[in-house]
Symmetry: C2
Subunit: 190 residues, 2 copies
């Protein structure tokens, strides 16, 4: 997605060979109009899949996932990392190691929001090691629902999570795939 690649090139800060900071439009400040464009693009790429629900993980997946859900006209469910007093006891849960935060989180989705009739599209902001995606897929499998596709805003192609998961059969559409990054900037996969 050209618009997104330009935005990453212009505003993304390469903090190391593996850490990209996109706080100005995705992870802290959010470019709402860009998110709508991203959502529209995901909806277009997965329009044949008869998706019934979009799933993401809080926090930074919510904005692009909401936009995709709006264009697909289906609900969005975000997996929670913390328990609220209003949280169901009846949940599917899974473990995920966060690459950027260096912690292991238990993520949870209430059982009543996902079942065997659902065709799920996962949307997330980043794909690096693929840990979050594997954890969400576990929850989807537990529920009996079908994962029909995954939409990623930015894939760190050099971290091989995407490559590995595609080999395992995951259908992943990434709007920007970074092949290499460093002090000289970044190279996107064409």
């Amino acid at each position: 997605m050209k618009l997104l690649q330009e935005k990453i090139r212009k505003e993304g800060e390469v903090l190391s060979e593996t850490i990209l900071k996109v706080d100005s439009f995705l992870n802290h400040q959010i470019d709402a109009k860009l998110m709508l464009e991203i959502g529209k693009e995901f909806a277009e790429r997965f329009k044949e899949e008869e998706i019934t629900k979009v799933i993401t993980i809080e926090v930074s997946g919510i904005a692009p996932a909401m936009a995709a859900a709006a264009y697909l006209d289906v609900p969005l469910v975000f997996a929670k990392k913390t328990k609220s007093v209003t949280m169901d006891e009846n949940v599917y849960s899974s473990q995920v190691v966060s690459f950027t935060k260096g912690v292991t989180n238990t993520i949870q989705i209430a059982k009543r929001f996902i079942d065997e009739h659902d065709k799920i599209l996962i949307i997330d902001d980043f794909l690096a090691s693929g840990n979050a995606l594997v954890a969400l897929n576990e929850i989807i499998n537990d529920s009996g629902a079908t994962l029909v596709g995954t939409g990623i805003v930015i894939e760190k192609g050099f971290q091989k999570g995407g490559e590995k998961l595609r080999k395992e059969g995951f259908k992943i559409e990434s709007l920007a795939i970074i092949e290499k990054m460093g002090k000289e900037g970044m190279i996107f996969k064409k």
Copy 2:
């Protein structure tokens, strides 16, 4: 907002006289189309205010805030509760006690995303005690920006935060104000 009140009446679960669970469209599963309607309504109510930025707190404020930001055509910034490795050191911060989670969080906004030229609209999912709003207002004051309005999806009118803050001069627009709730259901302010 009639559509929202109907949704709350139909799907909201009154867990006690103070706790309302709206997990099916706002706090866990999100009705994306409804969020767009909510965002449109906020944009309409604050269209005269020359807003330059929408601010919210992660997590549940993000969906309605993003929709409002999209309609107002301005960026959204969400205050963070946890530090990420890509988080700026240079932040405004404030303390907020969460009513539903029973914990005190430090919320933070990077200084580069808010300054004295900004006219801010705060959007949040709930207004109860008003603690979150006060904490966000502290950050806005520290930055030199101006808070021009606050848009709330659901106000718990019986918890008096809104009443108190309106007296202090906050311009608050709540799309649904619950005056009373209990086993018999709920009464909205007309």
